[in-house]
Symmetry: C2
Subunit: 348 residues, 2 copies
DNA sequence: GGTGTCATCCGTAACGTTTAGAACAGCTGC
DNA sequence: GCAGCTGTTCTAAACGTTACGGATGACACC
């Protein structure tokens, strides 16, 4: 900057003024400065600027699992609107680990990011602390319990409800749920939707039909193996996590259980490959990219509007049921020896 | 920091010394300082530190398409080793757009990142400029032509070669290739491997069997539609990009062409879902996460070792062919009316 | 007691910006 | 001719660190 000033024969203040347009400078001088900047390939140092202004034009995004294709899609949307507003994003992958999440948050904070977008687990002590300091933070996807701040998420209750309704309407009565970690708002919401639908249809939700706790394919596989060994296996399953679903389907395949002939399955999240899956999957789709966009909008307006803005903004996105071929009508006396009770049981 | 110093009744220099361990300070004082830091919840400001030291402990990672599940997996590995070394990573998604890539690079640079990891397209003017200034930069996956710097990538030639050999050994003679953008090192490498295998087997590579240029499902779909309309369609296809493959398979399904009965397909990259695909896909797997780890190692050692380190380090990872059910033996007089020439053609 | 050697500690000048306020020049109006 | 404006430019003090060089005191040695 000093070099630019010298070359253009002005002071650094003038250079700063033309860079930021923060003060009026005569056309002639401005031209000189611009030429000098060009000549020296000058780019303002965001670090120094950040130190002085307290604003870095960097936001943090922390997600629990970058390997779950849902999140990259969200990031895509978030990055899109951040980039448009000339913000950069630091990405942190917490790996489903609260301790790591907290470390990441601290790192972000000491890097002086202007705000953070986070899909976070309970309990959210670190997040609450930040929020309490009026630090711009918005939660997306997973909203910690009791969180009082901006948030964007899919209507998980509706998603769970519709998925279950779909199964019920197909004639299923013995419906199981694989629900991921229910201490997360996402999965508890989907679970609630499931319960509501079951209750409305006066169907029981059996303990042995409720499996919770895991978020990886591995746990889905375990669930699947356990489920096929049940004396009376369910005729349909709602699986609220896509990675769990993958493992579950693998277990079914290994056990020779056919979907949808022997069992109907509806999953969560839709991707390019779900329609080429075997079988093409019925899923509840959530608009992941749009979620990323909206969440980042919330964050940026919080950052620019300051904490003075409206107390707490929430956006909720509607999921959509995409019906494909992993769900089929259930006939009690259907495919002989498979759907009918005794043969069905033995076939597992 | 001033507050901490005041509370501990020492100078800021001393606080800095205990934070960084950069000078010896008596145990008693150190304890006082630590207690004060605790009491005030002091965290060093990385921005100020960065300004002073010229090192930010942030690295940039720029990828061409976060929606391609290959890259998140790479990021996972990169983040893992960066985190261990207490570096944060700024993620940039270039969206397969050279102009955007250059903007991202500039942003990273003015944020004073200590180095960047990039999978970049040709021509790599921006990258070359950085490299020329001895800025720590390592290319991964896609290595621009003539790039003289650190790089990590899969042996794409071997991947293409093995995929093609596999098809040839299954008896295929009319083999097509869907090669993505061949100006990228990845796809040109895979293409070269393909050519080599074809040449060794004295098989012709026909123009109408070579489709290049796209990286999205949409183009794969177009390729597929065009290919099934050919007078003499190929009996096997090597598709060097996973998203293109998805579109291609969709086109086949729509046209009623069955895989592997009518056509064998081998893809690139392996994911959790490839084995549940319909049909389970034969693919050449590249160790994406390990690639991320190695690339980040290269970068960090370049950063810490300075430009003084070895002239230029390269690591190459071996891909593996994962054989599943999308490839099958080709019998000239096989499945009647499908594989035999005239009927085969009509069946499309 | 003077001198030299350590071991600690502190003052302070940077790092590259922004920004408040001072300075200055050219007008206008009386 | 001078006060008062306006419009432009500059000076210099921050922002929160680090690190160089000097200061201080304790101790040992002659």
């Amino acid at each position: 900057m000093r070099d630019v000033a010298r070359l253009a024969n002005v002071s650094v203040a003038t250079v700063s003024a033309v860079v930021n347009g923060s003060a009026v400078v005569s056309a002639q001088r401005a031209a000189r400065v611009k030429k000098a900047m060009e000549a020296l390939d000058y780019h303002a140092d965001q670090i120094a600027r950040g130190l002085k202004t307290g604003r870095t034009r960097v936001v943090g995004v922390v997600i629990p699992d970058i390997t779950n294709p849902f999140y990259p899609e969200v990031i895509l949307g978030a990055e899109e609107v951040a980039g448009l507003a000339r913000y950069s994003v630091i990405l942190c992958n917490a790996n489903e680990d609260t301790a790591q999440e907290e470390r990441q948050l601290n790192a972000l904070f000491s890097h002086r990011v202007d705000g953070v977008l986070i899909a976070c687990s309970n309990p959210a002590v670190a997040v609450d602390r930040l929020l309490h300091r009026r630090f711009p933070i918005v939660c997306f996807d997973r909203i910690p319990e009791g969180f009082r701040g901006d948030a964007a998420a899919t209507d998980n209750f509706a998603g769970g409800y519709e998925a279950t309704r779909h199964l019920i309407e197909l004639g299923h009565r013995r419906i199981a749920i694989l629900a991921g970690r229910t201490e997360l708002s996402t999965h508890s919401g989907r679970m609630e939707g499931f319960r509501k639908a079951m209750q409305e249809a006066q169907l029981p939700v059996l303990d042995e039909y409720c499996r919770t706790g895991g978020m990886q394919a591995e746990t889905g596989y375990r669930f699947g193996r356990a489920m096929v060994r049940l004396a009376t296996p369910p005729s349909a399953v709602f699986c609220s996590n896509n990675k769990v679903l993958l493992g579950f389907m693998r277990a079914l395949a290994e056990a020779g259980v056919e979907c949808p002939a022997d069992i109907s399955v509806v999953g969560f999240d839709d991707f390019t490959w779900t329609e080429n899956f075997h079988p093409p999957l019925t899923v509840v789709y959530q608009p992941a990219r749009e979620l990323g966009r909206q969440a980042m909008h919330l964050l940026l307006s919080r950052i620019e509007g300051g904490a003075a803005a409206a107390e707490c903004q929430r956006v909720q996105l509607r999921p959509e049921l995409h019906v494909r071929q992993s769900t089929a009508r259930f006939e009690e006396a259907g495919r002989p020896g498979q759907i009918a009770a005794p043969g069905y049981e033995r076939s597992f």
